[in-house]
Point group: C2
Chain length 158, copies 2
DNA sequence: AGCATATAGTACGAAATCGAACTAAACAAG
DNA sequence: CTTGTTTAGTTCGATTTCGTACTATATGCT
């Protein structure tokens, strides 16, 4: 039926490859999520950890909307996550001096400590995974994934 | 402090690489999730689609637990997803002849049709993404991701 | 066989997710 | 300055997610 312009068995449609790729990515995300979550548990969820991690790595003083956009979640969900972090004393909310509607998210010392401890707790698991296929493969995959993330991000608003 | 056995700036710890990698994967999964969801909507969620897709690709006659394990979700969540699919007439639940406790999930014709249509609806978006970094890169990434998924899956039960 | 333990699935309730509606402030145009 | 539009964030409610507890069957051990 379909025209076979090269080797039929190996002929792979671009959409097909992408489907498979995102399928794998979805499963990996789910697996890593549950793996990390099993290591966390001071009642901390992945969302809590991810937000803390983001603030440590890229600097605090972000607005809630910045974070919502960064993680592609609705602002109401981010509100909820931040409320949880604040209740635990891991962040503080300040009024945004540049925008009377807005707030700024500030890491507390405790927040940074908790994040660092979480990293320490999870790191052994991460390190254990690498040797199973070599650091080089993983390093090679990173730029590709970054690019894919950027492309998908742009495709977001059609 | 850390010994610099090569080029210090590029020296990357295995755990660090893995963190970054899974971070990217998580964001990509989230983006692709919302992208797909925007194309679906006959009330179908990603979970519905993913389950249908799995059954078409790998064959039906799986138990709910098979599916729960495949997607790494609690069995109660899978119950809920399957209930939704059954209510829509996209699957049927049979008793498992080999296990009196269990059930088998069967695709209906309608289920297969709906899955195929969903694929058709999403395919253009998938195809649009590929040219932005070349089919070869994507094909190269696939085996790596599969391996990572398998490794994580094994690490699951410590 | 009989009993202990493990497993498949469901019921139920608590928490999380997220859309809709709302408040308040910013911004844009006249 | 007023008016209309946009944006940040919260509140509220419907739906989803998922842990706990339960039932029923299977499996393993003696």
């Amino acid at each position: 039926m379909t025209k076979s312009n090269e080797h039929d068995g190996r002929e792979k449609d671009a959409a097909l490859v992408m489907f498979e790729l995102l399928n794998e990515v979805g499963i990996i995300a789910q697996l890593s999520r549950t793996l990390m979550e099993s290591r966390l548990d001071d009642g901390l969820t992945i969302h809590h950890f991810t937000a803390l991690n983001h603030l440590v790595r890229l600097g605090d003083g972000k607005t809630p909307m910045d974070l919502a956009r960064a993680f592609q979640v609705p602002k109401t969900s981010m509100s909820h996550t931040l409320a949880g972090l604040e209740k635990r004393g891991l962040i503080r909310m300040e009024p945004n001096p540049d925008d009377g509607r807005g707030k700024l998210v500030r890491l507390t010392d405790s927040g940074e400590t908790v994040r660092n401890r979480a990293i320490q707790d999870i790191a052994p698991d991460m390190a254990d995974i690498i040797p199973q296929f070599g650091l080089e493969d993983a390093q090679a995959a990173l730029p590709f994934l970054r690019k894919l993330r950027v492309v998908l991000d742009k495709a977001r608003d059609k």
